[in-house]
């Protein structure tokens, strides 16, 4: 006797599944579960826009409300991916405009977004609520005008770290007078001044506004007026705070901040005159996230501020904080989970601040919940790394950038293999790791042996031979993303671990020793991978096969070779022939 569980009940149950992993697992149980699940999946995450096509996504998931898509490889952030490489969002928008009329959310990262795309978004989705463009480029403020003017139910507009061609600040004035739904606005990347009165009125009429990150052009003397209109703010980013200090500006600011009883996160502070910082003291005890990475203030002023933030969980700061400031941080902020220290002068030959490995060791000792670290410094030792590893076995993300490439342990002049080895050995939950300094194949042996939960690894100027790469590819079971530059890794390790690449999202190798011949071979062997050679010297065919390619980007895909390649990208095809775009 066969009876089937009512579909409606299954659908109801599946609605509680938010994780993609769970939903994917559910889809594999049987055909009817696959069918039910695909009709009720509302959120789709696409980690690589070239791994799948819009058509495939729409065919499988017809009722999607929220889409998140990532485009360029991470190293694009550091100018390693040439201009015009790709990651155009327009084909996605155009396909979704036809098939997802009820789409509410679009979140993009490292994609090229044109004004045309933005206009299409603003006109195609009647219930559009959330637009997040993180590290995107290709659009102007005219595109923002379309969004402001046409998205009547917009809740979030987040442009974080995007490169926008700023034609004028006029776009903000396009929000209609009856538009009141704004919850979150991040315009921190924009240069132009927006109409201040338009901004004031917008903020006044949006009672649900929780997040407001202003741009640099909003001067400090105007902040009080904005804060008074939005005392319910939870996240606030100031503009530039460089106006010469005056008692009236200061006292207005103090009063305005003291009215913000819900503030948890502060950012901005460009060029901040240190005398303004005390204006925020009244909110400090509630602050959990503080981004001072644009604030060029010195350690004593930083310490004054930080010492008030006993509940701080996340701090982004410049290396002006110095070892002394980090020591203070470790004693005042016992809840600290994430620390990022950026370099104030990354290109100078000499250190300009007194920030060393000691600062990080101190924080690792004093902050028991520390799990995520990004640290730029000019010297490191194995002893320090070992101490950090022993202090903080709960680390999840550890990204260390020693500014001088291949810098050895400054005490012993040895490679930093044992130090990083200790990190991977002790920190068993480590998911993300970036290495720097002098490193031999030995460190990769440690990583392959211990880093079983590692998902993302970034390498530069490291290793001696293919053995290094082989250790990583054969040992790191959870590896999803591997990005490598200027390492002596070549054909053998890559070809020996070809199958591994199908289990990963992507592999990036630039300025390594992978020959064109090996790339062709890899493309032939692995039909489910796109093996793309990026070479601005002209067709790889015009050089001997043994010559190393400039850059290699390999990723798994069900969408076949790219149809939108620029003239410096070649896909290594199955049948060995080159395809030109």
């Amino acid at each position: 006797m066969v009876y089937s569980f009512p579909e409606e009940v299954l659908e109801y149950v599946f609605a509680f599944l938010s994780s993609d992993k769970d939903r994917n697992a559910v889809s594999l149980v049987c055909k009817s579960w696959y069918e039910i699940e695909r009709w009720c999946r509302r959120r789709v995450f696409i980690g690589n826009c070239y791994a799948v096509s819009p058509q495939i996504m729409i065919r499988r998931f017809p009722e999607v409300r929220a889409v998140k898509i990532k485009g360029k490889p991470h190293f694009a952030d550091f100018n390693l991916v040439p201009e015009r490489w790709g990651a155009y969002v327009y084909p996605w928008i155009s396909a979704m405009a036809r098939s997802y009329p009820w789409l509410e959310e679009i979140k993009l990262k490292r994609m090229v977004v044109t004004d045309e795309s933005l206009e299409l978004i603003s006109k195609s989705f009647k219930n559009f609520k959330v637009l997040s463009l993180s590290s995107c480029e290709g659009f102007t403020t005219d595109g923002l005008s379309s969004i402001a003017a046409n998205c009547r139910n917009l809740r979030e507009l987040d442009l974080r770290e995007s490169e926008v061609e700023d034609l004028s600040g006029h776009w903000l004035s396009h929000f209609p007078d009856n538009f009141t739904s704004l919850v979150s606005l991040n315009m921190s990347c924009l240069g132009s001044e927006v109409s201040f009165s338009a901004l004031e009125r917008l903020i006044s009429r949006c009672p649900n506004l929780k997040t407001l990150w202003l741009n640099r052009a909003v001067p400090v003397e105007k902040l009080a007026s904005l804060l008074r209109r939005a005392p319910q703010l939870v996240e606030f980013g100031t503009g530039a705070c460089s106006t010469e200090i005056r008692t009236d500006i200061f006292s207005n600011l103090v009063e305005a901040f003291s009215g913000c009883k819900h503030l948890k996160s502060l950012s901005g502070f460009w060029d901040v005159v240190p005398a303004y910082l005390p204006a925020m003291y009244s909110v400090c005890s509630r602050i959990t996230k503080l981004n001072l990475s644009y604030a060029t203030v010195q350690s004593p002023d930083l310490v004054e501020l930080i010492s008030q933030c006993s509940n701080l969980k996340c701090l982004w700061v410049l290396d002006y904080i110095e070892d002394a400031g980090l020591k203070a941080l470790s004693s005042y902020c016992k809840d600290l989970q994430e620390l990022r220290v950026f370099p104030s002068d990354p290109y100078s030959a000499e250190p300009n601040v007194s920030l060393t490995e000691q600062g990080l060791v101190t924080v690792s000792a004093g902050c028991p919940k520390l799990q995520s670290v990004l640290y730029f410094c000019r010297q490191m030792s194995n002893a320090a790394l070992i101490a950090i590893a022993r202090n903080r076995p709960n680390l999840i993300r550890f990204r260390l950038c020693i500014i001088e490439p291949q810098a050895p342990d400054y005490l012993t002049l040895e490679p930093l293999d044992t130090g990083f080895g200790a990190i991977v050995e002790h920190c068993k939950e480590l998911r993300r790791l970036s290495l720097s300094g002098l490193l031999t194949d030995r460190v990769f042996e440690y990583i392959g042996t211990h880093a079983k939960k590692l998902e993302m690894l970034s390498l530069a100027f490291a290793g001696d031979s293919d053995l290094g790469l082989h250790h990583v590819l054969s040992g790191c079971e959870s590896l999803r993303k591997l990005e490598i530059r200027d390492c002596p890794f070549g054909d053998r390790a890559l070809l020996a671990n070809a199958a591994k690449l199908e289990t990963m999202r992507s592999l990036w190798m630039s300025s390594c020793s992978v020959s064109y011949g090996a790339c062709k071979l890899l493309g032939q062997k692995m039909p489910n991978l796109n093996v793309e050679v990026i070479d601005e010297r002209g067709p790889p065919d015009s050089r001997p096969e043994s010559i190393s390619v400039e850059k290699l980007y390999v990723y798994r895909t069900v969408a076949g070779p790219r149809a939108d390649k620029p003239d410096f990208v070649w896909t290594m095809d199955e049948d060995g022939a080159l395809r030109f775009s």
Partner: protein
């Protein structure tokens, strides 16, 4: 938009060449920038660094290293640019009909500044000493600092002086006697 990071101020083409290899690999590009130390006067507290007009020894810039996002580079670049713009302060001299304005950044040390002031106002300021100030001189240079106090020029290190000086006043020697003997 120019994406390449080139931070070389000098017309050293080889150094501006973008390479994907390590910096410093080509020895001829390294310049010794520390050899042009000027002869120091008694009052000269300026560090070597400030005596150089240009950036420290240019290394061949490696693309994308260190891994800092462009918008972060721009922020600091803007700060550095504002460092490069002048520090203009008014200079008054007792008895002179009008004030002058000078750019403190143009001078390398106190000696340099005082010489320029002597030329500008056709006066003699003399030599500084910690004990006697400018005792014996016709005129004494004083300045108003950030806290609004009038100080004798020469007491603090040069760098500290140029960042804290708001205006200068060249006082008659007779009036300045009080300042010199503390």
């Amino acid at each position: 938009m120019e994406r390449a990071a080139v931070y070389d101020n000098e017309l050293n083409l080889k150094a501006t060449e973008l390479r994907l290899g390590l910096p410093g690999a080509d020895e001829s590009e390294k310049q010794s920038s520390r050899n042009n130390k000027r002869s120091s006067a008694e009052m000269d507290d300026s560090r070597d660094k400030d005596e150089q007009e240009s950036a420290p020894a240019p290394k061949a810039q490696v693309v994308g290293w260190p891994p800092v996002r462009s918008y972060r580079k721009n922020i600091l670049h803007q700060k550095n640019e504002s460092d490069l713009s002048g520090i203009f302060v008014k200079v008054s001299m007792d008895g002179a009909p009008y004030l002058r304005k000078i750019d403190l950044k143009v001078y390398i040390n106190y000696q340099d500044l005082l010489k320029a002031l002597e030329n500008m106002f056709k006066c003699s300021i003399g030599v500084y000493s910690e004990r006697e100030g400018y005792d014996g001189s016709e005129f004494a240079p004083t300045y108003e600092d950030k806290d609004g106090d009038w100080m004798l020029v020469g007491d603090v290190p040069w760098d500290m002086f140029i960042t804290s000086c708001k205006r200068l006043r060249i006082m008659k020697g007779s009036e300045a006697k009080g300042l010199g003997c503390l």
